[in-house]
Every structure is written in structure tokens, then in C-alpha cells.
């Protein structure tokens, strides 16, 4: 049975047969890097492994898609995570209005900061169930038994969390703009670019740390403790580039955008390299 055919259920992932990722002698990361190199430069043994890995790569994408579909279905059955996230971030935004006088000039100065802090707090709470939920019925073991790479599991969850977070932001940003007298006219696309880069970094690190904290006691408290200090560079970069957009003359700050992209790349690469250890039993 091919994966990605017909209706995929949660059980397809571990019911289907396929090639074990452990079949190859060298680490799959090296093989995937070899994919970027012309065929001529690669030794024959590595080339065979690479060609086999190509099949696996295809299934990595498919498997991530299946995990994503499972996460989305699980969430949209109840929508409780999304609702709670949006309401929580809204509460934070409302509470901040007591910390300073939200006139247009003040909002321009403090708004981007509090918007991102609301996102970070909401994210560090929302990402918690991502792996903790799998603990209840030991479903993570079932996922691990499936003949898919562990990065596929992680990637599926990252993508799902990215979608949840983006949906929450889609609701929150307009509400925020209305409450704090900020105008979104003319900067929507640039703002979306900043939001996407920032949210991606948040969800990548957050999902990885959700897998880390899932094994610990007091995980609800631990995840923000692990995540928030790590995200300070992201917070600075996101706030600065959002501030540049909300300024009198909106501008896209290239330095900070590049920084955000760099942050995303560094931690996505790190989680790709470490995902085998992260999800190992």
C-alpha cells in the first residue's frame, strides 16, 4: 500500500511497510547533503545509499504530510487549543493596555513589542500539548514504530503548529491593530513576511522543546523556561522589524529580516540533525 493514497488515517502511518531508515550504514544527514552535490563527485557506495535515500526522502515528505493531516484533524475536531491560544493572547494584549496609555504614538513605540510578547507567551503555552498529548496513550511509540524518518514526525508537527500559530495571528493582528489604533493599510504583505519568519522560528524551536519537556515533570512550566530565553534573539529581531513597519514611514528592515531567516535556518538545521536523538526511545 502506498502512502498518501486515498484517505489517510492515523493508523496508515504504522500499518504500511517500507524501507527502514536504519538500512544504510552512513547517517542520513550525510546522504541528504550528498543530494546537493553532482553525481560525478560522489563515491559509488554513497551514491547507492543516496539513491535509496531518495525514495525515503519522498516518503519523508509524504509522511510529514500524513502527520500534519493527523494533527490538523485532531485539532479541528475540538478546536480547543486554537480557541484557548487566541483568547490567551487577547488577554495579554488587553492587560498590556493598562501598562501604558495606548495612544497612536505610544502604540507605535510599544505595540510591536507587546504583540510579539503576546505571541511568544501564547506559543509557549500552545506548543506544550504537541508532544505531551502523545504521552497519554503512548502514541508516540506507535509513531516511532512506523517506517518513517523521525524528522518526518517532527516536521509534521512543526508544520501543524505553524498553521495553528498563523491562524491565531490571523485573528489577533487585526484585533490588535483596532485596539491600539495602528493602521495595517499598505503594510499587510510585508507584515505577513515578518510574521511568517518569526512564527516559523518560534514553532521550530518550540516543537523541539515540547518534545524535550514532554518527558519532564512540571512540563507546562518547564517549556516557557526553556523556550523564552532561547527566543530572545528572535524576539529582538521580530520586534525591530515590526517596529520598522509600524513607523511613520513604513520600511522593511532587511538586516533584521535576514537575521530572522538566519535564526530559522540555524534551528531548523539543528533540529534536523538532532531529531533522531530527540525522538529516540
Amino acid at each position: 500500500m502506498r502512502r498518501g493514497e486515498g484517505r489517510c488515517s492515523q493508523f496508515d502511518v504504522h500499518a504500511s511497510g517500507g524501507r527502514e531508515p536504519q538500512d544504510f550504514a552512513c547517517p542520513k544527514q550525510i546522504i541528504v547533503i550528498a543530494n546537493a552535490v553532482p553525481r560525478f563527485f560522489i563515491p559509488a557506495a554513497l551514491r547507492r545509499a543516496r539513491d535509496a535515500e531518495r525514495d525515503l526522502l519522498l516518503t519523508t515528505a509524504q509522511a510529514a504530510g500524513i502527520i500534519l493531516a493527523k494533527e490538523l484533524r485532531l485539532e479541528f475536531r475540538t478546536r480547543e487549543l486554537l480557541t484557548a491560544t487566541v483568547i490567551f493572547a487577547l488577554v495579554v494584549v488587553v492587560l498590556f493596555s493598562f501598562a501604558f496609555d495606548p495612544t497612536a504614538a505610544e502604540s507605535r513605540r510599544y505595540g510591536p513589542g507587546l504583540l510579539w510578547i503576546a505571541f511568544l507567551f501564547a506559543g509557549s503555552l500552545m506548543l506544550n500539548p504537541s508532544f505531551a498529548r502523545e504521552q497519554n496513550n503512548e502514541t508516540l511509540d506507535a509513531l516511532r514504530m512506523a517506517p518513517i524518518s523521525s524528522f518526518a514526525i517532527l516536521l509534521g508537527k512543526i508544520l501543524a503548529n505553524f498553521i495553528f500559530m498563523s491562524l491565531a495571528e490571523l485573528v489577533l493582528v487585526p484585533v490588535f491593530a483596532v485596539l491600539y489604533n495602528l493602521s495595517l493599510a499598505g503594510i499587510v504583505w510585508r507584515l505577513i513576511l515578518v510574521l511568517v519568519l518569526g512564527t516559523w522560528g518560534l514553532t521550530v524551536t518550540g516543537t523541539v522543546f515540547s518534545a524535550v519537556s514532554a518527558h519532564a515533570r512540571m512540563r507546562e512550566l518547564l517549556l516557557p523556561l526553556l523556550l523564552l530565553p532561547l527566543l530572545t534573539p528572535l524576539l529582538i529581531a521580530a520586534v525591530e522589524s515590526t517596529s520598522a513597519l509600524f513607523a511613520e514611514q513604513p520600511a522593511l528592515d532587511r538586516t533584521w529580516l535576514a537575521f530572522l531567516a538566519g535564526f530559522d535556518i540555524v534551528f531548523l538545521t539543528a533540529s534536523w540533525l538532532l531529531c533522531d536523538h530527540l525522538l529516540a526511545e
Partner: protein, 243 residues
Amino acid sequence: MKARLTITALVALLIFCAGYAALFIAPDEATMHAIQRIFYFHVACWNAMFCAFFVAFYASVAYLVTGKRKWDALGVSGVEVGVICCTIGLVTGPLWARPVWGIWWTWDAKLTSTFILWLLFIAYLLLRGLIEDPEKKASLSAIFAIFASLDIPLVYLANRLWRTQHPQPVIAGGQGSGLDPTMSKVLLLCLFAVFCVMILVLIDRYRLEQLRNECAELKFEIESQGIDAFDGAATPALQKGGQ
């Protein structure tokens, strides 16, 4: 055992000499006078901290590659010693800054980055305390240490970029240009002495961690045997990796 005692005594003598040199031999600083003498240990602590965190980073990578428990023990020792050095640095810094800058703390790039560094590795120690399973504890904390180490250059870069756009008037930079030759000799001595102390503490902490691991394993073995003999391994009440 005798060799270790000798080495410990030697390092104690070294750090005593370094303290004497910093307090009495180094010349008086032109504007800051006596308060500047904290600089010899402040800088030395940061130096030792970076070495300790580098050891922790290296050991974390090595643990994930080899899977040997000794690397995990070295990793946690590196982080603990590094956190102590960082704490000393963060305490001596404000002590110096209050009379010289007039403020205890400022959100300068270096200060902010080290504070975040401290928070990150405190979180590492917390994480270790909250995971029961020893295998999981080792691999997950190694992953966290690698992420934290990757984050540090980014934190520094971000604060650097940020502060150049919003310069702080309070800060005129460090000592920077040109130390007196005696001063730099004393500084070198202090750097070396504190580095030796750090290495000594690191090695002792590493031994302690290995002894703890051994002790936990033995306890686990005794417990499982006792239960086996008692009621035929029917009770799954084993606490894996006890205290």
C-alpha cells in the same frame, strides 16, 4: 589520591598568589583606583566560564554521537562549573559598575547576552532535575545544551545590532586600549589561576557525577534483585534511576 591532594594544594597556592598579585602588586588604576582590582577576577571568571561551556558543548555533542555516559557526566559538570563562573561574573560586574558607571546594571549587549546565557544554563540544570529516566535525561539535556550553545552567538549578535541602532550613553566601552605591562602580567596570572581552579572543580564534579551514576546503578540492581526474590517480579513498582 595523593597526587590529587598535591595538585589541589598547588592550585590553592596559585590562586592565593594571583589574589596577592591582583591586590598588592598590580599598579593603581588612574581613575578607578582600588575598585578596578576586581577586574582581574571578573575577566578571569568569564574566561573560565567560556572554557567550561565549551567543554559542556563538546561533551554534549560527543554524548549524542557515542552514547557513552561519561560524556553526559562531563557535560553536566561543565554546565554546573560554567554557571558558577557566570554567577561570579554577574555579581562582580555590578559591584564594579555601581561606583564606576553609577548604575548597577545596564542592558548593554555583553551584559544582556551573559544574563541570557546564565538563564539558559540554569534552565538546563532545571531540566535535568525534572526528568526521571537517566537515558532520557542525558540525551534531552545534551540536545538542549547544543541548542543553547547555538543560541549564544545569535543572542550576542542581536543585542549588538540592536544597541548600535540605539546607542546607550552610559557606556564608554571596557578598559580596552593598552594595559600597563605589570597589569597585563597580573591579568595573565589571574586568568591562568582561575582557569586552573575551574579545571580542578570540573574534574572533581565529573568524578562525583560518575560515582553518583555508579551508585544509582548499584541501587537499581539491588532493588530489582530484592523484588525478584520477594514476589517473583510481579510488581512493576521499580523506580528507574532513583535518587
